[in-house]
Subunit: 450 residues, 2 copies
């Protein structure tokens, strides 16, 4: 069986034009009792293949194949250089057909996003979600390819953990229902991980270059367009890398992965651009614009110059940049991707490398036009005593983290890493504004459909 993507867009690789078998789902069906045109989609691309039925066919059956019906045919391909699609198929034989029931909910392309969110098991059968999800899949595969090609170790940090990462996030507890004798042992916490970073660091020390790519969880009871209870994170961690090394890696990874996705899903991105004009221009600009690196202090100075335009105008050293500030920096001042570095330690995590000024840490936020913060990362504190002091200062339970602290006594010379929320990346590349539309089955408070 051939894929429609290959037939339509790789005709050079496609040398058999007769007796071609194809199977998929009916997108549209028009014509009469003598000739019928069925647009077929097989999920390989957002584009459809036009099937032409002319001659001896069961036109009553063909008439009954509403959108969503499954259909398998055999036929001859025909070049149609003057049509929207370069190739169509003259069907010779209907091999198999299965009708849809009349209450099939995806009857047209005009369904609201809110309605489609109630149908996560079906919404990928609209053009929009087919395009989004194809892009999502390619992005994920390109991330693995990027790291595999560079000999990174793919690390599976544990999902169920007794460590809650930054100690700040709300966590989900895991239990098999037996409270008397907990599954993982008396006195042991068992929660869903909010980050794979700490375990990732343990593997970077010894494996050198690692990345995680797995699900992480936050039990935050807020309903925003940018938060999920369950989301996928990519977290590289590299021994012997300092802050600038890891910023360059983040920038390069983003650009390579996005550029390859644009190439592989050209038709899907064009479709998304038609829904959200300017998308391709935005992504191309991002890929082509060198990253700027600026100090947090410099960012504050720039923002202070125009402070009156912001809601939060208390712009001075110590301000945790809000979304409005981040967007202004990347969109107005620098007009391109920008990494802000060396933040005040007060609003950053305990494990970040403490700079010599005693006030800031070697952290970075990578900001991009249209989204704001896409990536956060840092050089890690390698000094056991400095790290322990910070843990105590913040009132974090050092006992639970002893294994992590010990890495500093056992060969942790230098290490840096970053985290990127995968659904945020999907939103950025597809232009979707609600994170619920960037993952097949979104989980948020009050919502666990299917």
């Amino acid at each position: 069986m051939e894929s429609i993507k290959k037939i339509l867009f790789k005709p050079n690789f496609y040398d058999q034009w007769e007796n071609v078998k194809i199977a998929g789902w009916v997108a549209s069906n028009r014509g009469n009792k003598k000739i019928r045109f069925i647009e077929l989609n097989d999920g390989s691309t957002v584009a459809n293949l036009q099937l032409v039925f002319k001659g001896e066919f069961d036109f009553e059956l063909l008439d009954s194949l509403k959108p969503g019906s499954a259909l398998k045919v055999q036929g001859t391909l025909k070049a149609t250089p003057n049509s929207p699609q370069p190739i169509e198929m003259n069907v010779v034989e209907i091999l198999e057909a299965k009708k849809v029931d009349e209450d099939y909910p995806i009857q047209n392309q005009e369904i609201k996003l809110e309605t489609l969110r109630e149908l996560p098991h079906l919404r990928h059968r609209t053009n929009l979600f087919r395009a989004i999800m194809l892009v999502r899949s390619t992005l994920a595969q390109e991330v693995h390819k990027y790291f595999a090609f560079r000999d990174f170790f793919y690390m599976n940090s544990p999902i169920i953990t007794s460590n809650d990462g930054e100690g700040a996030g709300e966590t989900f507890a895991v239990s098999d229902g037996n409270i008397e004798v907990p599954f993982f042992g008396k006195g042991n916490k068992a929660t869903l991980g909010v980050t794979g970073q700490l375990h990732g660091e343990s593997y970077a020390i010894g494996m050198n270059k690692i990345y995680t790519f797995g699900p992480t969880f936050r039990a935050e009871r807020s309903n925003t367009k940018r938060h999920l209870a369950e989301f996928w994170m990519i977290e590289p961690e590299i021994a012997f890398y300092n802050l600038h090394d890891v910023i360059n890696l983040a920038d390069d990874m983003l650009k390579v992965v996005i550029a390859n996705t644009l190439a592989k899903n050209k038709v899907e991105i064009e479709y998304l651009d038609s829904q959200n004009p300017g998308l391709i221009a935005k992504l191309t600009h991002f890929i082509e614009t060198p990253l700027k690196i600026i100090d947090y202090k410099e960012a504050i100075e720039e923002l202070a110059k125009v402070k009156t335009i912001f809601e939060n105008q208390d712009i001075k050293f110590g301000l945790d940049l809000a979304s409005e500030h981040e967007k202004y920096l990347t969109e107005k001042i620098y007009n391109g991707p920008v990494a802000v570095i060396n933040f005040p330690k007060d609003f950053k995590a305990f494990y970040m490398h403490q700079n010599e000024d005693g006030k800031t840490v070697a952290a970075f936020d990578l900001l991009v036009p249209g989204v704001g913060e896409l990536i956060g990362g840092s050089q890690r504190e390698s000094d056991y005593n400095k790290l322990l002091n910070r843990v105590n200062e913040l009132g974090i339970d050092a006992e639970d983290l002893q294994w992590y602290l010990d890495l500093r006594r056992f060969g942790h010379m230098l290490s840096s890493g970053f985290g990127i929320g995968f659904e945020r990346l999907v939103m950025y590349v597809t232009g979707m504004e609600n994170i619920r539309d960037a993952i097949p089955y979104p989980r948020t408070t009050g919502n666990i459909r299917m």
Copy 2:
């Protein structure tokens, strides 16, 4: 910075022999106050690079670098065709060093597996676990590569779900601690998924060829060598594929992925073979031997002929093959990989395609020498009424599964898939016998270290 893997095993790609920088961890350290030999490992391979220090060096510092210390140096590479490693480095300058504390637990290679399981944050710094984990990472990356190359959609099935798959497994419940107002809404179950298959099927109908690769969970309170509470599963699902199509896919995927891993991790597999003689022969035999497909009835007949050798001798139609039977089939009777098909429906899952005999389902188990069952899969039942009847017969709550049943009314002409426990695959390829040694941070009942 260069990797030791590249220096040692890809010298053709490596053209700079002077001013080479390398960083890693000390594996061994011998010599005297005039000349010193340090074996360095950087995690890129199980092999070490020998560093030679001769001349003006801080030999007291060098003396203090016990195994596990981090070291970064610059030097000149030198071909050593008569040594165990083809290349060594004459160090010109020590760039940075960080000693380990004396209680570093990985002092030698003779530590028991049981002891190392207490140290999941450090055990990858032994040769054995470095080799195992490098193979694990390559296997995972090759799985993604295999499917990406064939235009499969990478599906992220939800982890937290209100569906418990086969309805049989013990599940973990997820909660943020608020029992009055549950996080995911009143009356909604929220458990960790035991399979991604049902959600995967929903995407196969529309996307055609999909695969999942993510964590799955079982709250079984048994301590065996083959079970984890948290493990990774690969679950492809392909629309328009029948049982034989999907068996061929499973066979091809396994052979390609294993062959590529043997090539990429030659040194690691050789190391594992030295620990477990016969490993390479076993894997090579598997790759080179065509898959046999036999009917369950035929398997029963063959086993009945030699029934006296088994513990369970009640060998007749209806027997759920035990491990001893599976191993005998693949190791003694067929001496190679074998897919047993068409099992009695009574011990198989509700969603499997019901054969016309009314007794069996279109399922397969793929058995391999040395392990037994590695993969299980089936053609799915596409007929709404047949599926609903089976659900009712088994007393499964149809209401929770309505969305899944509905797929059969909405274009589910034909679909097949299989599942492979990724850690089982890692065990098979590394020769390890305890599944706790096939994943970085194993989770079992009573154990949630770090």
